[in-house]
Amino acid sequence: MNCCQSNNEKQTGRVKAGLAASWPICLGFVPIALSLGVLAQKAGLVPWQMAAMSLLVFAGGSQFIAVAMLAADASMTAIISTTFMVNLRHLLMSSAMAVHFPGVSRRFLTLFAYGLTDESFALNMARFNQGGWSRFSALTVNHATNAVWVVGTVLGVYLGQLVPPGAAGVDFALTGMFICLLVFQLRGPIFTITALIAAACSIVAYMWLPGNAYVIVASCLAATIGLILKRTLLKRRITA
């Protein structure tokens, strides 16, 4: 009895540590979640649809993109394949994270993977590397941030009902957001070159291909050309 009580206390402490660590992410999520909700409302989504999207997908960037594509009447195939490509980067984070879970049950890992976002990954990795970070604290970070995200996006839909269509340039909000997210991604010359190639490919593909296929075609092509450029330039630099 005594041992179980102290185990319970330990567990509560780990959850509390997770909650204490996740507040900066939660705070950061609020304005983003609200604006996603507002834009989703403008794209015709109702509260339950927003809740379903935030619960089932839980990936900010791809949710913004999906809302933009829904507003543009894109096909389901285009939306699903774009979502897949956008979120494929989590393969990297998931494999980096795996190091910190030796011998942990699959049940825990399948639950943990649901909340693996860019933000929770960055925070949990930093804490794990500092040491003394429990996997239950890490799980708490994932789910606390998810809860804030779901509530925030649904509140945003209600907020959106108060914003008249076309008010103060709201139609440009998504484009502005994507521009800033793109700038965050430009972490070196090769990223900028890839982005420029992607833009050129995308405009050509947009004119030649039907529907929204241009996003996938242009981004895969640009990333491949970018990778080849990076590898050949790097090789030349080594041999020179």
């Binding site: 393969l91 103060a168 440009f172 521009i179 190639i197 590898r231």
Partner: protein, 107 residues
């Protein structure tokens, strides 16, 4: 889009989001991704965002033709500068929206 179609779309989006998050964690082999694939993955987000924005700025929608005269393109310039200078998401969106709104009134 019907409610059924919407739910189907969300489940499919959820699945393609969840699997890349789950598979490397659960695979006990702990094999690292091949380096070329990891490097390719790193370039993907920048490529997608750029591919997504470009036609909005540089092309008309019906018919689909190249143009340099869109208000979106003009508003994107201050937004881009703001993003580079401040690295603020909210700031960039507000500056872009304001410019787009004012340009729409003027032009």
């Amino acid at each position: 889009m019907s409610s059924r179609d919407f739910l189907f779309l969300m489940i499919a989006m959820g699945a393609v989001t969840y699997l890349p998050r789950m598979i490397p964690l659960v695979m006990l082999s702990r094999r690292a991704l091949p380096p070329w694939f990891a490097e390719w993955l790193e370039l993907i987000p920048a490529a997608i965002l750029s591919a997504l924005i470009a036609p909005t700025l540089f092309a008309q929608s019906a018919p689909r033709i190249f143009t340099l005269g869109k208000i979106e393109l003009l508003a994107a310039i201050p937004a881009l500068l703001c993003a580079v200078k401040t690295r603020s998401l909210a700031g960039t969106v507000v500056v872009g929206m304001l410019c787009y709104w004012v340009l729409g009134l003027v032009m």
